[in-house]
Symmetry: C2
Subunit: 346 residues, 2 copies
């Protein structure tokens, strides 16, 4: 109620047709009250109108805009994006350079850095001081420097797909976009850029190698039976599956500080009954190992590295009671990238 | 009963311990009988022994040998081999040269030559006079010279897979072996060597083309939505499915003497809900068209050929009430053939 007296009480009206005081309110005092009332009425009307406009159907642009805002807030859907898992040891210069690259790759949901530099603080402050960043990057300091740290079922992982990359591999965004689309067509296999194989020998002992180990004179071309996880896409469910493997598998990986990828290929081949991986030919992928300033030179430089891998193959056959790996010779490339790559160069 | 008197009846034995006459048969007459009986007994034993040996388990070599004989007699199994269907018109020189090549391709079960030279005798006599041949080749003289003659559900076809090749295409055995192995992994799609595409235009009218029609500036690389059947593997069930298509489809192919392959891609995409074909990059495939002496120069030289194909795409969309073709950018190559082909040439 505005003013001190109620409106409409006909105290001072004379005889004649009765009407509301609002029509015949005499005097300046009442005129001010009318003004106030009018203003209030107008404001009320504006408020009501404003409230009503939110009920109106949005025009198309508004819809698009609000959808985009929603997407930004919630991130990309669990199926249409992937999470980078990058384990790192003593190569922070390479790590940060690579994060600058991978952070901008389309369809990346989040990056998880498995920080194996025990006792050393991860560069979170530096990272934050150089923000904003396109996606969240989570640094996970580890309590022991273990190769299989990267195969934990991280709670921060929200996507179906994992992109696992070694901390010295630079893979172009084109290669990643294509390989991710291939993974979406082969989601229960490792889709990656590095093929390897096991071979049987006359003695029954297995050995591990690459394309240099192509069996001469047998059939045409080569075969692969593993795809290394250090440059690949695979389903996040396999991290959980790895955790559930026999203790002997974990012990093997811990003892050798090697072979986590061979173990993953074994368990996936066994689980699916298919070849564990699908090889996608990279167009532009490079190793930056030589470019580290004083950083770690890479496990594969150890004298025993490759012998260990053959050792692991035989050990895993014994743990799994058989050889589950299967051969494939399918090499998948992106049609038309580079231009006219479908033409043979014979 | 041998001899005229039964053995064992003790007529002439004297007193003393009774024994069978066989012990004491006197005289030469009975001696001959014994000899005959012995011979008969021996023969019987030999027969029984002979019969028994067939029940013995065969040693491994014998098993392999008899299996190979069985296979030769019955041909290769329906899943592990394919049937060549080659339609020909006025290019017998190329045809015979190509048959000399394809007849020797491993895993070929049989060849069917669709003889479109109406009124002209197929070269069966010549073929037979130059035998023996590795596989049967059936010449099927046609009553009209129609492009879709090759899409009949031939009763001679015994395999799941069809290899359809134009009568001027020479595809290496390596390419065929690999593509067949890929088809076995994608049996409900056309697995072949020639990718093509349709494009949407702003007007909604479709157009047909190859990699030269890659949409500039949109995404990376190219896409294909069809694999031409004239150099491909596909399931023989699709021949029956083609026969069951609406009359409008058959009429279109007959009117244009073109587009049977586009029609096949439409029906397979519609049937599977997937991309109709999978492109395999050929290593050594060539067209011998220029090498024909006075033969037919090929339908694609007709002025209207390519415009017809765009026309067919639009017509088929109208027949099928929509565009069923799907895009793919997967190019499948044989790992390690040629050697080290997994390495990029950047």
């Amino acid at each position: 109620m505005l003013g001190s007296e109620p409106v409409g009480v006909g105290k001072e009206v004379g005889d004649g047709p009765r009407c509301f005081h609002i029509c015949k309110l005499p005097g300046r005092a009442l005129g001010t009250r009318v003004l106030r009332l009018s203003l209030v009425a107008v404001l009320l009307l504006l408020l009501v109108a404003g409230a009503l406009t939110t009920l109106l159907p949005n025009n198309k642009d508004d819809k698009m805009l609000s959808w985009r805002r929603e997407v930004k807030a919630q991130g990309q859907s669990a199926l249409a994006s992937f999470t980078l898992i990058m384990q790192t040891y003593n190569r922070s210069d390479l790590l940060l350079r690579l994060l600058n690259h991978y952070q901008a790759v389309p369809q990346l949901h989040k990056a998880i850095v498995v920080w194996n530099n025990v006792g050393e603080k991860p560069p979170e402050d530096l990272w934050n001081s150089l923000g904003p960043h396109p996606v969240p990057v989570i640094f996970k300091p580890q309590t022991t420097n273990r190769m299989r740290n990267r195969l934990q079922a991280f709670p921060e992982l929200e996507t179906q797909a994992v992109l696992m990359v070694d901390d010295d591999m630079l893979i172009s965004a084109q290669d990643l976009a294509f390989a991710f689309s291939v993974w979406q067509q082969f989601p229960d296999q490792i889709v990656g850029f590095v093929p390897r194989k096991h071979v049987s020998t006359a003695s029954g002992v297995y050995s591990y190698g690459g394309f240099e180990l192509q069996t001469p004179g047998v059939g045409d071309g080569d075969q692969y039976s593993m795809v290394l996880i250090g440059a690949s896409f695979f389903s996040s469910k396999y991290l959980e599956l790895f955790q559930r493997q026999p203790a002997a598998v974990h012990a093997l990986v811990d003892d050798t500080q090697n072979c986590d990828d061979i173990a993953m290929n074994f368990l996936i081949a066994k689980h699916t009954g298919k070849t564990s991986g699908v090889f996608v030919k990279p167009v532009n992928m490079g190793n930056l190992e030589k470019e580290t300033s004083g950083g770690h030179s890479g496990m594969w430089h150890r004298a025993e590295h490759f012998l260990q891998r053959s050792y692991c193959v035989n050990k895993l056959v014994s743990v799994y009671g058989g050889m589950p790996l299967k051969y494939s010779n399918l090499m998948i490339a992106q049609f038309g990238f580079p231009y006219a790559n479908h033409k043979s160069k014979l």
